[in-house]
């Protein structure tokens, strides 16, 4: 069966707070993305998703696969995600360049990896296993991070490109994450984005972040998805579109979730930038 393709427009992350409003109003938005882990059970939430998918393309975005786990990925979790994919038939499936499980403990966050040859080997094996079970390509999202390991030997953008090259996965380019990590680690965000293989970028994420002042007065940027997209991130997004062309773009907002209209306005702003690129002959990544 030919899978539906995500339109090269600006969608929004569908969260429980907006279930009723989306079902009732069927807003004008080209697609939705949901967190896979929120729909692994049955009941009302899954029913809402099944109703929404009849009218909109859906992307599944995982936060719990822990593709960077040294001890391998949780097969039971992979099976549950696989069953959800078979049920929802999403246009895109994505996960993160991060880890969250060690010794059977799930740490509910996306933790940074040491970027070494050992990690690259392990991560590629885990991505291969996931893509093989799911029977499709996944997109891997670049992380936001607040820590770096002393023994990391590969720049993050090169690491990501190597994973793409070795596994055939695509990239979910989170422009806010690039900005947050670049600020926290003293990287050049524009150079990071320019170094990513353009052909592999199958989706872009935009989100808000916050700043926290540490005890010694330094500032750390936190990827909390709790506000509007920052002006600097919008500028990076424009530059990225100019380089890679129109790519399906998603507005994420997970904390302090505002009214649906606010998200739709953010998506409309991204849509204007996408439309400004004109007709694009870029081929979507194979789902």
């Amino acid at each position: 069966m030919q899978r539906q393709v995500i339109p090269q427009g600006a969608g929004i992350g569908l969260r429980f707070a907006h279930h009723e409003a989306v079902v009732a109003t069927r807003p004008r938005v080209p697609w939705f993305e949901v967190h896979s882990e929120n729909y692994l059970g049955g009941g009302t939430n899954l029913r809402v998703l099944e109703a929404v998918r009849k009218d909109y393309p859906i992307a599944l975005h995982g936060v719990g696969m822990s593709l960077g786990s040294a001890q391998g990925i949780d097969v039971a979790h992979l099976e549950r995600v696989g069953a959800l994919i078979e049920r929802i038939e999403p246009c895109l499936v994505s996960e993160h360049l991060s880890w969250s499980v060690v010794d059977g403990h799930y740490l509910a966050d996306l933790l940074p990896l040491p970027l070494t040859e050992e990690t690259l080997e392990r991560l590629c094996r885990n991505v291969d296993q996931a893509q093989s079970r799911l029977g499709r390509q996944i997109l891997l999202e670049n992380p936001s991070s607040y820590l770096r390991y002393r023994h990391s030997s590969v720049p993050e953008w090169e690491f990501l490109a190597s994973v793409v090259q070795r596994t055939g996965c695509g990239i979910l380019c989170d422009v806010n994450n690039v900005f947050v990590s670049a600020c926290n680690h003293g990287w050049n965000a524009a150079a990071y984005l320019a170094a990513l293989p353009a052909h592999a970028i199958g989706e872009i994420h935009l989100a808000g972040h916050s700043c926290r002042r540490l005890k010694d007065d330094r500032v750390i940027r936190i990827d909390d998805h709790g506000g509007a997209v920052a002006p600097e991130v919008w500028r990076l997004y424009e530059d990225t579109l100019a380089r890679v062309g129109a790519v399906p773009t998603l507005i994420e907002w997970d904390n302090n979730i505002p009214a649906l209209d606010v998200l739709l306005e953010e998506a409309a702003r991204a849509q204007v930038l996408l439309d400004a690129l004109g007709t694009d002959d870029r081929q979507p990544l194979a789902a």
Binding site: G43, L107, R212
Partner: protein
């Protein structure tokens, strides 16, 4: 840590720093000074603890309202000391929170709290159970009496049968319905209650108080005891003139989805 740590060593070290707050070896591992490491680890710790607290608050909304946010967060922090999620599906996290609350000394005076938590977990499970159509009763009626007596039912995945020792159901209902007058006038009983929890076709959780006999009949049937044996057993232990009528009511309510004849 000597030489470059392996991926597993690095992950265990960060796990210890975040969960156990043992960050002694992080300065050898991470490319920052102590202040920056402490700040970053606290960001990860806050995110993880707030995510898990939110997950428990969503599963235990009445417990949260009964004890207030500060008490709840303190209880969760203690709970996390020995109960860590094993799966990324946080709907599965917190199954034994009621057991923890039963022995959580600061909640000792709230003797009904663990029962309310048990009820909330049953409701939570009912709400997230797989969707399976209810048994069509015509299938049962097509069997002759002997075969009908031998059938073993398959329980609806959303059915939960719960025996509690307090009036937890009345407290739970009054708290979630913001029924202040019911709460203020409530005499909280220490007496057995027999509860049936199930998701309704419109997706809500229904909590029904049952007689002990009908609850035990459902318990027998849900555990796979053959119909006639279950009826005989239930009638002997809890004589009721109309156990068949009771059964018919529960069959009509979709307590079962299938049977093996």
């Amino acid at each position: 840590m000597t030489g470059s740590p392996s991926l597993l060593e690095a992950q265990r070290a960060l796990h210890r720093a975040i969960v156990d707050q043992e960050g002694g070896d992080l300065e050898q591992l991470l490319a920052s000074d102590a202040w920056a490491i402490a700040g970053a680890v606290s960001v990860y710790r806050n995110t993880i603890f707030s995510t898990l607290t939110r997950a428990l608050r969503l599963s235990y909304p009445a417990v949260y309202k009964l004890v207030g946010s500060q008490f709840f967060e303190g209880a969760v922090e203690t709970y996390l000391g020995k109960h860590w999620p094993e799966s990324a599906c946080l709907d599965d996290f917190g199954a034994d929170f009621s057991v923890f609350l039963a022995s959580f000394a600061p909640a000792g005076e709230l003797f009904y709290l663990a029962d309310v938590a048990r009820l909330e977990w049953a409701v939570h499970q009912a709400l997230h159970a797989p969707d399976v159509p209810a048994l069509r009763l015509e299938r049962l009626l097509q069997l002759d009496d002997a075969r009908r007596g031998a059938v073993r039912f398959v329980a609806n995945p959303s059915l939960r049968l719960l025996a509690v020792g307090t009036s937890a159901e009345a407290i739970w209902r009054a708290v979630l319905e913001h029924d202040e007058s019911a709460l203020s006038g409530m005499q909280i009983a220490r007496a057995p209650r027999w509860l049936i929890v199930q998701r309704t076709p419109d997706g809500a959780a229904e909590v029904v108080r049952a007689e002990e006999g009908e609850w035990q009949l459902l318990q027998l049937l849900a555990s796979g005891v053959a119909l006639q044996n279950a009826l005989d057993c239930a009638c002997r232990a809890w004589p009721q003139p109309a156990m068949e009528e009771v059964l018919a009511r529960h069959l009509a309510a979709g307590r079962f989805t299938d049977f093996a004849a």
